[in-house]
């Protein structure tokens, strides 16, 4: 085995779980700038349209996704969400993320593919909603640990009813 392969072999499911649980905690605590620091410079955050859940890539030359953002726009999303004028999230929602069924799906070069199931609770204005689905991650291993290169949230709900919107980071 080369040195690189040995390093990948060191990425365990427990290590990925620790990373994802930490990420979920940052989001639930609205520590969004710290959350952003988990991403690589070439990162993508996406949520496919609910009628195209099986799409391999919600590439914006082909499909009208719910979210398809590279780092620059993701930074803007975080800046926006922290403002009191981001009306849909002011006051902030309470959220709670439950991640289960974490699996390492494969590795290539310095990247690890992982998936997890999620239920994300959002409570605001006396209305509670639950988003249910699956995360697909591409995590890049670097000198300062794991970073997110691709984060895809695939919803199982066919329609955003009663949610009405995804104003939080899903």
């Amino acid at each position: 085995m080369t040195d690189v392969q040995q390093e990948q072999a060191a990425v365990t499911r427990a290590g990925v779980e620790d990373f994802l649980y930490y990420e979920a905690a940052l989001l639930d605590e609205w520590r969004l700038e710290e959350w952003l620091d988990l991403f690589t410079e070439d990162a993508v955050y996406e949520i496919p349209a609910t009628d195209l859940p099986g799409h391999v890539e919600s590439d914006t030359s082909r499909t009208y996704a719910l979210v398809y953002e590279r780092r620059t726009l993701l930074e803007q999303r975080v800046i926006r969400l922290k403002k009191p004028t981001a009306h849909a999230e002011f006051p902030h929602s309470r959220t709670r993320r439950l991640l289960t069924n974490v699996r390492i799906l494969g590795a290539a070069g310095d990247e690890v593919m992982a998936s997890a199931n999620f239920i994300v609770f959002r409570g605001r204005n006396g209305r509670d909603v639950f988003y249910v689905g699956r995360y697909e991650y591409v995590l890049r291993r670097g000198s300062d640990g794991l970073k997110i290169r691709h984060r895809k949230a695939v919803l199982d709900q066919a329609t955003l009813d009663p949610h009405g919107k995804i104003s939080i980071i899903l």
Binding site: T50, A65, Q76
Partner: protein, 430 residues
């Protein structure tokens, strides 16, 4: 409970316009809307590009009815009501596909995709009076205009082109954007709001709310070094226009430029030049350098902000709950890079996970919550009333909707507001 009378106050002399808030909360009014509006008006079903091949179909709700929107074996676009003539079950249970036959799984009655009943298991058991020819899938009247397909459940509705009135002109401007036809992009935004459907019809053509509700969107765009279209509305340019029959548009010169690479800018220049070749300078400017938010009565909105075209329908399931469907329409003959530019901008702004639409939904849900205050009976929609050429931050567009709505429910007649549309305003704006 009796229905409130009057439902609107339309005082042209004093320049005051009010809507009674029971319009947003009353079950009786919703029942009347179902009967007088959603069973009689022309309703948008879908775009022809959603059905590229013979036998393609999609299923969806139109006016509260489940329908199959399909292209039959001969290529003709149809709308088949999705209920078996036997005992009622939906004969198609898929959201989309390609099929020559729709068979009901309950007792096995089967229909071809022209709606004809072609198979009844053990059909010999029926009497001679049982007429299969009369038992095809029910088909409402269907007409299309420039690729936009509409249906009505009424025999008395006028021809679609007459119903659309001056809105035709703006559908032309959208359809003319591609020599190869416009296309709906795969991927549909299905969402909802806990608010009355009419609030979203208002919001879809409302220039007044843009800078307050979407402040963070404009700040974001300016952070990225762009000038978002629409900011200039506050300067009192652009125009709200009464298009007749309850349709209205807010049009505004496109002065900003959204997220765009130099390559796309160059491609857009070539695209505009091709429009000048096809239609001349004036029409090309209308197509390529003007934004438009258009409501087509009762529940169809098209918002063309230059960087993308959002097509949207809404339907009430209760006075305080609305199902919304959003699609993205693009010119069929532009490059993949141009489509990506449009989709990047469109889903950054629109859609239930964009950076603008969630704040609209929040605003409309806040209005609905406020309607619980019964002491305040009226909403005010008077801004700019009586002006011949109201800018888009005025509220003519909403008054146009409400007058038609009121006429449908109460039989009242009304006059159109504002100067008739002509295109000369563009010269004044540039």
């Amino acid at each position: 409970m009796a229905i409130q009378s009057p439902l609107i106050i339309d005082d042209r002399e004093r320049g005051l316009f009010r809507v009674h808030r029971s319009a947003f909360t009353s079950e009786e009014i919703l029942a009347l809307e179902r009967e007088q509006i959603f069973s009689k008006a022309w309703l948008y079903v879908g775009h022809e590009s959603e059905l590229p091949k013979p036998n393609d179909f999609v299923t969806r709700g139109v006016g509260g009815r489940p329908v199959i929107f399909n292209r039959d074996r001969d290529g003709r676009i149809r709308v088949l009501l999705n209920t078996c003539r036997h005992r009622g079950a939906e004969v198609c249970r898929l959201s989309s596909g390609n099929s020559k036959v729709f068979a009901c799984f309950y007792h096995g009655w089967a229909y071809d995709n022209t709606g004809r009943l072609v198979s009844v298991p053990d059909g010999d058991a029926y009497s001679a009076s049982f007429d299969r020819g009369q038992l095809g899938l029910y088909q409402p009247r269907v007409e299309s205009y420039r690729g936009f397909v509409f249906a009505t459940f009424s025999d008395e509705a006028p021809a679609l082109v007459d119903y659309l009135a001056d809105a035709r002109y703006f559908l032309d401007i959208i359809a003319d954007q591609s020599a190869n036809g416009m296309e709906i992009v795969a991927g549909t935004h299905y969402y909802s709001m806990n608010a009355n459907w009419k609030l979203l019809m208002e919001n879809s053509v409302d220039g007044y709310h843009a800078l307050t509700v979407h402040q963070t969107y404009f700040e974001m765009m300016m952070n990225l070094g762009t000038t978002p279209p629409g900011v200039d509305g506050q300067r009192g340019i652009g125009r709200g226009i009464d298009l007749g029959n309850g349709h209205a548009v807010a049009m505004n010169p496109e002065l900003g430029s959204p997220i765009m690479s130099p390559d796309i800018l160059e491609e857009k220049r070539r695209w505009r030049a091709s429009l000048v070749d096809r239609f001349g300078e004036e029409h090309a400017t209308l197509i390529a350098n003007v934004t438009r938010n258009m409501d087509i009565f009762p529940n169809f909105a098209i918002v063309d902000l230059g960087f993308g075209i959002q097509v949207r329908t809404m339907f009430p399931t209760a006075p305080g709950h609305t199902e919304i469907v959003g699609w993205q329409l693009v010119p069929g003959d532009v490059s993949d890079a141009h489509k990506t530019y449009r989709l990047d901008n469109s889903l950054t702004f629109w859609g239930p996970a964009g950076m603008a639409t969630p704040d609209d939904v929040e605003g409309l849900e806040q209005c609905q919550r406020g309607f619980a205050v019964k002491e305040v009976e009226w909403s005010d929609i008077s801004r700019g009333m009586g002006r011949d050429m109201p800018p888009i931050v005025d509220e003519l567009q909403m008054r146009v909707f409400w007058r038609e709505w009121n006429a449908r429910l109460t039989g009242a007649s009304y006059q159109r507001e504002g100067a008739p549309h002509d295109s000369s305003y563009l010269g004044a704006a540039t």
